[in-house]
């Protein structure tokens, strides 16, 4: 489907927010695939960061040529987009004390999640390299603690360090961020025996579950199994995932 871009602007160094007309009904943790044009071939996956009546937003970082091209798109341009795709975060009525842990460009989908969970008691731990983004928006939904690697804002260090201080009395953890962070979140969740879902990344082909390229190693009773990040995920129970 072709959708009209409503806004595409840099919100901090190299990080952009793109608002797009959209007619699907996404849940937090789901993603869209965008044809970024130029000489890219495959569509690129981006998590949905916000959703309103007829619009979604994504927040992305310039990584390679696809995201670079995307950063040049202007309001009123159109983009070829599919989605929403994938299995997002499961939300449970029974859990009220929730910890959200995000790192870097893994943070955007957690904003949409926080918005949907806003009736709950949310603790939100966010980690950045240096420049922070989306923090004010998170503050609308819960208590935010911040870690930056260079100490630019909040605590100097990793999000996992601040997470440790917040985990007491928590019923459920949601995490998204770089691999090492997710592994640490998983380990801590297991240590404290808190249920935990994490959103993982893998390079994609079809984005809809047909091509088997987006393999995520998961535990089974008899050994392991490759599940599909685009269809079974991107959100998995942290216990399932084998890093």
């Amino acid at each position: 489907m072709r959708y009209v871009v409503r806004e595409n602007r840099e919100i901090t160094n190299g990080i952009y927010r793109l608002r797009l007309e959209f007619d699907g009904i996404p849940t937090p943790g789901q993603f869209i695939m965008i044809n970024c044009g130029g000489n890219t071939l495959l569509k690129r996956p981006f998590s949905i960061c916000d959703h309103d009546a007829d619009e979604i937003a994504i927040v992305y970082r310039i990584k390679g040529k696809g995201t670079y091209n995307l950063s040049k798109v202007k309001a009123l341009d159109t983009l070829e987009v599919t989605g929403p795709h994938g299995h997002g975060f499961d939300m449970f009525d029974k859990f009220n004390n929730i910890l959200i842990v995000g790192g870097g460009i893994g943070i955007p989908p957690l904003l949409f999640l926080s918005k949907k969970l806003k009736s709950k008691n949310l603790k939100i731990a966010l980690g950045f390299k240096s420049d922070v983004f989306l923090v004010d928006e998170f503050k609308k939904y819960g208590d935010v603690v911040i870690a930056t690697e260079d100490g630019n804002t909040g605590i100097k260090g990793y999000v996992i360090d601040v997470m440790k201080g917040e985990i007491k009395d928590i019923d459920m953890i949601y995490g998204c961020g770089p691999m090492q962070m997710l592994k640490a979140v998983k380990d801590m969740a297991e240590e404290y025996d808190v249920p935990c879902q994490i959103s993982v990344e893998e390079h994609m082909g079809c984005g809809i579950g047909a091509c088997m390229v987006c393999a995520c190693k998961t535990k089974t009773d008899s050994g392991f199994q490759y599940k599909k990040v685009c269809k079974d995920g991107p959100v998995f129970w942290s216990r399932e995932v084998v890093f």
Partner: protein, 301 residues
């Protein structure tokens, strides 16, 4: 306008298929297109036992192409028959089961298991570059191609298509080996073997080092192989490799393909296969061609 074409005894309602491994077992794409509109579906490669496939990463974008190293992850032929085939059979399209044995005996067992209603043809995959056993090692040996084809034909009551690899010096020999073995048709090309290196870690991107190149980048290579193979055999040829537009598909048909299969392009556009079919129709109208068979092998050299 007639779009019907024949592959051996099998009549396809139109010449646009989807290529094995790029379309799963059809379910996912059924949300984007009406599967009834396709000439046929070549399902993901099936093995005798479930196969976990290769560790990630399994895909890497290259200029106008992709390298993949899936390693034939699939639930195995039995689960396919039980869980996937019934869904496919709800549609009025042909089901072509792509089979990948590690030994000749496995190919025979796979063919026997698939002698069932709801399967219209077999595609013998002797050209997968991403597995250790079988795969392309068969496909680069004309004797293996001949032997596997012959054995499968002996036990199968289906239309038998042999899928060839382009990673050979002379495709004609392999096309002929398949025909001599009794194949009803050949299909080509499977992926071209390629490689990528991460210069920061100085490691190959893929665990298996090599992977299979597909997509628009390989189209000129695929077209050459289809054209050459067609000139070596009298059985139908199913052409594939980089097809991303009706124009591409038409090139293959003019070069000698009776049908074409859309592969990587499904990823770029989930409605791509049907858009290509529509484009072929438009070209036919524009050029007053009322039977698609008139296009096949119509090249003027």
């Amino acid at each position: 306008m007639n779009l019907k074409i024949n592959i051996g005894n099998l009549e396809l309602k139109n010449p646009v298929l989807v290529a094995s491994g790029t379309f799963g077992f059809g379910k996912e794409y059924s949300h984007y297109i009406d599967l009834d509109d396709l000439g046929g579906i070549m399902v993901k490669g099936l093995t005798l036992y479930p196969k976990e496939g290769n560790p990630p990463p399994r895909i890497y974008e290259t200029p106008s192409g992709i390298l993949n190293s899936v390693g034939l992850q699939n639930p195995g032929v039995d689960v396919f028959i039980k869980d996937e085939l019934p869904f496919l059979n709800r549609f009025n399209t042909k089901v072509i089961a792509n089979i990948a044995g590690e030994t000749i005996e496995e190919f025979v067992s796979l063919a026997q298991k698939l002698n069932i209603d709801g399967v219209d043809a077999l595609e013998i995959n002797v050209s997968c570059p991403n597995v250790k056993e079988g795969g392309m090692s068969f496909g680069v040996d004309p004797n293996s191609v001949y032997a596997i084809t012959k054995k499968v034909k002996q036990v199968s009551n289906k239309t038998v298509i042999v899928k060839l690899t382009p990673n050979v010096t002379d495709i004609k020999i392999y096309a002929k080996a398949a025909e001599d073995g009794g194949a009803d048709a050949i299909s080509l090309i499977n992926t071209v073997t390629g490689m990528a290196i991460d210069i920061n870690t100085r490691r190959p991107v893929f665990k298996n080092v090599f992977a299979g190149l597909s997509g628009p980048a390989i189209k000129p290579i695929a077209l050459k192989n289809v054209y050459e193979a067609k000139r070596a055999v009298s059985i139908p040829v199913i052409g594939m490799g980089g097809i991303s537009s009706a124009e591409d598909a038409l090139e293959f048909m003019i070069a000698g393909a009776t049908a074409v299969a859309v592969g990587t392009y499904n990823f770029i556009s989930p409605t791509g296969s049907i858009d290509i079919l529509e484009g072929i129709k438009k070209y036919m109208l524009r050029n007053s061609i009322f039977d698609v068979n008139q296009l096949i092998n119509s090249i003027n050299v």
